[in-house]
C-alpha cells in the first residue's frame, strides 16, 4: 500500500506546475543559477529515474533532503512529530471529553430541546472553517482578554530541554512547573480550534449509535431489572455504543496526527503540518513526499491500534 501511495504522490507532486528551483531562488535568479540548482536537486534527470532513486533511498529510510530546511526529511519529521502529537492528543482529549458526554445526553433525551441545541452546535462545528475559528479565538482570548498566550508552544523566556519532545512531559521531568503551566496555556487555543471538528463528529456518532443501542432488548432488560438509569446508560448502553465511536476517534486521531496544516500555520506551531505547508508552498518535492508517506504510515498504524482496541471493548471480537 505504501508503495502505491508513494507512486501516486511522486508523480502528482511533479505534475504541479511551478519549478522548485525557480521558487527557491526567487525572482532575482538568473537562468544559469536556476539550471545549477535544478542539477543539484537532481531535477534534470528523467522522472522515472528520479522515482527509482527515490524508492531505493526510501527503502533505506532516506526520504531525501528537504529543500525548505536543507536537512533530511526524516530528521525533519522526527523533530516535528512531538509537537504535532502533543497538539493532537490535546485536541482529541477536548473532542472526546466533550463529544462523548454531549452525544450520550442528547441520545438519552432524543428530540428534546437540549438535543436540538447540541445538534445545531455539532453541525456548526462540522461546517466551521478552522482558520476562522482560530482567528476568533486569538482575537478574543489573546488580543482582547489577554488570558491565553500566543503564538508557538512556549512564551519568551521559557525553555525546556527536549527529552520526549512533548513540552508538558519534559517540563514535568525537569520539574519546571512554570513552563508546564505556560505550555498548557499555549495548547488551549490550538487544541480547541483543532478539536472542534472531531468533537462534532464524535457527538453525532455517539448520539446515533447510542440511540440504536438504547432500543435494544438488553437495555430494556436492564431497565426491567430495576437498575438505576445512569447505570443502564453507562454500563450497558455506552459500552456497546462505543464501537463505532472508537473507530471515528481513531480515524480522526490519525488524520490530525498527519499534521494539522491550517491550525499549525496560524498558531506558529512547529509541527508536521507547518512543515507540510512550507513544503507545498515551496514545491519541496522531498518534503511533500515525506509528509504524505508519513501520514499514510501513521494511518495504517492508527487503524491497527483501533482494530486491536475493538477486542478489548467487545469480547466477541477475536484475532
Amino acid at each position: 500500500m505504501l508503495i502505491g501511495v508513494s507512486l501516486v504522490v511522486f508523480f502528482m507532486v511533479r505534475a504541479i506546475p511551478g519549478d522548485p528551483a525557480q521558487l527557491l531562488l526567487g525572482q532575482q535568479a538568473t537562468q544559469e543559477q536556476v539550471a545549477q540548482v535544478r542539477e543539484n536537486m537532481g531535477l534534470d534527470k528523467p522522472v522515472v529515474v528520479q522515482y527509482g532513486l527515490f524508492l531505493i533511498d526510501a527503502a533505506r529510510g532516506d526520504l531525501g533532503d528537504s529543500i525548505v530546511t536543507g536537512r533530511p526529511v526524516t530528521t525533519e519529521l522526527f523533530a516535528r512529530f512531538p509537537a504535532t502529537l502533543e497538539l493532537t492528543l490535546f485536541a482529541m482529549l477536548v473532542a472526546v471529553f466533550v463529544g462523548v458526554p454531549v452525544g450520550v445526553i442528547s441520545a438519552v433525551k432524543p428530540y428534546s430541546r437540549l438535543d436540538k441545541v447540541t445538534s445545531v452546535l455539532a453541525l456548526t462545528g462540522i461546517s466551521m472553517p478552522i482558520f476562522w475559528l482560530a482567528m476568533i479565538l486569538i482575537v478574543v482570548f489573546f488580543v482582547t482578554l489577554g488570558i491565553l498566550p500566543f503564538p508557538g508552544r512556549l512564551s519568551i523566556g521559557y525553555a525546556v530541554p527536549s527529552i520526549t519532545g512533548l513540552v508538558l512531559v519534559d517540563s514535568l521531568l525537569t520539574l519546571n512547573f512554570a513552563a508546564f503551566w505556560d505550555g498548557f496555556l499555549h495548547l488551549i487555543m490550538p487544541a480547541i480550534a483543532l478539536g472542534t471538528f472531531p468533537m462534532a463528529v464524535i457527538t453525532r456518532m455517539t448520539r446515533s449509535s447510542m440511540l440504536e443501542v438504547m432500543g435494544e432488548d438488553y437495555v430494556r432488560t436492564a431497565r426491567a431489572k430495576g437498575l438505576v438509569p445512569w447505570r443502564v446508560v453507562f454500563k450497558h448502553a455506552l459500552r456497546n455504543a462505543m464501537l463505532p465511536t472508537v473507530t471515528v476517534i481513531g480515524l480522526q486521531t490519525g488524520i490530525l496526527m498527519g499534521g494539522a496544516i491550517i491550525t499549525e500555520t496560524i498558531f506558529s506551531w512547529p509541527g508536521v503540518g507547518q512543515f507540510a505547508y512550507d513544503s507545498i508552498s515551496r514545491r519541496d518535492y522531498a518534503g511533500i513526499q515525506g509528509v504524505v508517506l508519513y501520514g499514510a504510515s501513521l494511518f495504517v498504524l492508527v487503524n491497527l491500534f483501533v482494530d486491536l482496541l475493538y477486542a478489548v471493548l467487545d469480547p466477541r471480537v477475536r484475532y
Partner: protein, 558 residues
C-alpha cells in the same frame, strides 16, 4: 486478568507504543519560546516577527531576504549602507576607498582591533580568505550553506562569475590592515555591491573548523552573536559587547547594541502575526499589509515605513501584437487612472511611480512626469492603431508582494478603466511559482509584476528589468521583452564607468528613452510598513528592508 485479556491489552499497547515511541526520537536540543531571563517577558529582549524562517545563516550562500535579515546582525561587511538610505558607508573598512587606475584598483584600509565572535582577529588575511572562498571554485572552502545552498549566487550576480569570469581579478593583503582589489574592468556599482549584506566577512577560523556546519553556526564580527536557531520558529541572538561599532555615531551605522537579546520569530500567517503584535507578544512586526495599518495604529501602536526601494508595474509584452506598437502601450498607460488606484490600494504605503526606478536610487530623473490620465487620448491612439476593440489578457499575481499589496484588486480596477476605452482585458492568474515561470517565458500579453532592489543602484533596476540581456526565452526578468539597443548602450555605459557625471548622464537619458517607449505602465513605489510597540525606539527602517538592530532600544515595560 486472564491470558486472553492480557494478550489483547498488550497487543493494543504495542501498537500505541509504536506510535508514541516515535516521539522519543524528538529528543535532543531544547524547546523554547525564545530566550530571556527565566520566566515572563524580559524587557530587554527585542522580538521581531516576520513571515518566514531563515533558510541558512551563511550569508554568501543565499539570496533569501529572511536569511539575510538575520545574518546582517551577525556579520559586518567591508562597507555598509547608511541607515535609512542606500548611501555607502565604511564598516569593517576604516574608510571608503577611492578608485585608482580608472576604477581597476581599490585599496581598502581596515579597522584595527576588531575580533570575530570566536576570538579570531579580523585583518587583511581574513578579507582575502573570504573573497577567495567566494571567488575561486577550486578553493577548498568554496562550499557550505547547507542543503539549500545557492552556491555563492550573489557573488555571481554582482561580480560576474567565478574564477576567470569574476570582475574581481585579485584580492591581496598589502599589510596587516590593507587589502587591494584588482578589477578586470571598472564596475560602476562596485562599492555598492561590496556593501551588500551577503558579502559579510566570516571568521576564517570558524570556516576552517567546519565549513559544512557554518550555515547553522555562523560566526561574524557584528553587533549580535548567534545563540540558537529553532528551525521553523525562532532565531536567537545576544548582544556583542565587544562590537567595534559601539563608539561610531548612529548616523554612520554604529551605536549599541542597546538591547541585550534579540529573538527573530517566524509567524507565517499575516493576520496571526499582526495579532501577536497587538497582543504584545512581539516588539515589532514586518510584512504589514496596507489594511493592517489602521487597526495597528488604533490599537495604540506605531507604524513606520521603509523608504521605497521597490517598483510595481504593468508590463506589456513588447513582442506580442499589438503591444509591439508603442502607441498602443501609450494608450493603455493613459487609459488607467493610476492616482485613484494607488490611493485605493496603497494609501500611505506607496507613492505613485513616475519613471522606471524608485526615487531612493541615485540618478533618479525627477524631471519626468507621468503621462496624464486621459481616456479620450487613449481612445484616439487606439483608433489610430486600428485597435478599437482590443481583446487581451491581464495577468496578476495570486499573492500579495512587497511591491503590490493586492494584485487582483489592482487588476480589476485596471480592467474597468480599460473597458472605458474599449479594451476588453480578461483577468488571468496562476499559482505564484507558475506565475513567475510563465511570465518568464513571455506567455502573457500584459502582466503585473514588481521588483525590490538589492543595492540601490540604477543598474539593479534598469539593466536587470529592461536590458535586452534579461529578455531571455525562459526565466526572463525583463518580462516586457523590451529590447532597445540605444537603451542597452546607455545602461552598459552606466554599468562600466565609474565617473559619476557619465553615469548620471547615461541613466537620465535612459529613463527618458524608456518613458518615450513605454514598455510598462509604472504603478507605484511601495513603502513597506512595519508595526512597533510604543516602547521601541531607534529602529532605522531601511529601503533595502534589511535593518541592523544595533540602535534599537526598549524603554520601560513591554
Amino acid at each position: 486478568m486472564n491470558r486472553r485479556q492480557f494478550l489483547r491489552l498488550s497487543g493494543a499497547g504495542f501498537a500505541g507504543a509504536a506510535l508514541l515511541g516515535a516521539a522519543g526520537c524528538g529528543g535532543g536540543g531544547t524547546i523554547s519560546g525564545g530566550q530571556g531571563g527565566g520566566g515572563g517577558g524580559n524587557v530587554n529582549t527585542f522580538v521581531f516577527g516576520r513571515g518566514a524562517d531563515s533558510v541558512t545563516l551563511d550569508p554568501i550562500n543565499t539570496t533569501d531576504g529572511e536569511s539575510l535579515r538575520v545574518t546582517r546582525q551577525i556579520f559586518d561587511g567591508l562597507l555598509d549602507f547608511a541607515p535609512e538610505s542606500t548611501d555607502v558607508i565604511p564598516a569593517l573598512a576604516a574608510e571608503i576607498p577611492k578608485p585608482e587606475d580608472g576604477g581597476r584598483l581599490y585599496t581598502f584600509t581596515l579597522r584595527e582591533g576588531v575580533t570575530f565572535h570566536d576570538g579570531a582577529p579580523f585583518n587583511a588575511e581574513a578579507v582575502v580568505f573570504n573573497f577567495d572562498r567566494w571567488r575561486l571554485e577550486d578553493n577548498e572552502f568554496h562550499t557550505g550553506g547547507g542543503g539549500q545552498s545557492e552556491n555563492f549566487a550573489y557573488y555571481v550576480g554582482q561580480f560576474g562569475g567565478f574564477d576567470g569570469d569574476s570582475i574581481i581579478e585579485a584580492v591581496e593583503a598589502v599589510d596587516e590592515y590593507t587589502v587591494r582589489f584588482s578589477l578586470k574592468q571598472p564596475q560602476g556599482p562596485f562599492l555598492k555591491n561590496v556593501a551588500m549584506s551577503p558579502f559579510g566577512i566570516a571568521s576564517p577560523k570558524a570556516i576552517q573548523n567546519n565549513v559544512e556546519g557554518f550555515w547553522q553556526n555562523p560566526v561574524g564580527s557584528g553587533p549580535f552573536t548567534f545563540v540558537s536557531w529553532n528551525r521553523g520558529s525562532t532565531v536567537e541572538l545576544e548582544a556583542n559587547d565587544e562590537w567595534w561599532g559601539a563608539d561610531v555615531p548612529a548616523s554612520e551605522g554604529g551605536g549599541g547594541p542597546e538591547v541585550s537579546k534579540v529573538t527573530i520569530r517566524a509567524i507565517p500567517d499575516n493576520t496571526a502575526r499582526v495579532a501577536a503584535l497587538v497582543g504584545g507578544e512581539l516588539s515589532a512586526a514586518d510584512g504589514l499589509t496596507p489594511d493592517d495599518v489602521k487597526p495597528v495604529e488604533q490599537a495604540g501602536l506605531k507604524v513606520e515605513y521603509r523608504p521605497p526601494l521597490t517598483i510595481g508595474y504593468l508590463a506589456m509584452n513588447n513582442e506580442k501584437a499589438p503591444f509591439d506598437n508603442p502607441d498602443v502601450r501609450r494608450a493603455i498607460y493613459q487609459a488607467i487612472d493610476m492616482d485613484a488606484i494607488v490611493e485605493a490600494f496603497f494609501g500611505n504605503t506607496g507613492e505613485i511611480a513616475t519613471t522606471y526606478m524608485p526615487p531612493t536610487v541615485p540618478f533618479f530623473n525627477d524631471q519626468i512626469e507621468r503621462f496624464p490620465f486621459d481616456p479620450d487620448a487613449a481612445r484616439q491612439l487606439l483608433a489610430d492603431a486600428g485597435e478599437e476593440n482590443l481583446q487581451t489578457e491581464l495577468w496578476y499575481m495570486p499573492i500579495p508582494r512587497p511591491y503590490m499589496p493586492d494584485g487582483k484588486g489592482i487588476a480589476q480596477a485596471m480592467q474597468q478603466d480599460l473597458k472605458e476605452v474599449g479594451v476588453t482585458a480578461k483577468l488571468v492568474t496562476r499559482e505564484w511559482g507558475t506565475y513567475l515561470q510563465e511570465t518568464g517565458e513571455g506567455a502573457h500579453p500584459m502582466a503585473l509584476l514588481g521588483w525590490t532592489g538589492d543595492n540601490g543602484d540604477p543598474d539593479n533596476f534598469l539593466n536587470v528589468l529592461l536590458g535586452s540581456a534579461s529578455a531571455t526565452p525562459t526565466d526572463a526578468l525583463n518580462i516586457a521583452y523590451y529590447k532597445n539597443p540605444e537603451v542597452d548602450k546607455l545602461l552598459q555605459q552606466g554599468q562600466s564607468t565609474i565617473v559619476e557625471s557619465e553615469r548620471e548622464q547615461a541613466y537620465m537619458e535612459a529613463q527618458e528613452l524608456l518613458v518615450e517607449d513605454t514598455p510598462w505602465v509604472p504603478i507605484a513605489y511601495a513603502k513597506p510598513p512595519l508595526g512597533f510597540q510604543k516602547n521601541v525606539q531607534g529602529y532605522q527602517a531601511s529601503p533595502t528592508g534589511g535593518e541592523a538592530f544595533n540602535t534599537v532600544t526598549l524603554s520601560g515595560g513591554a
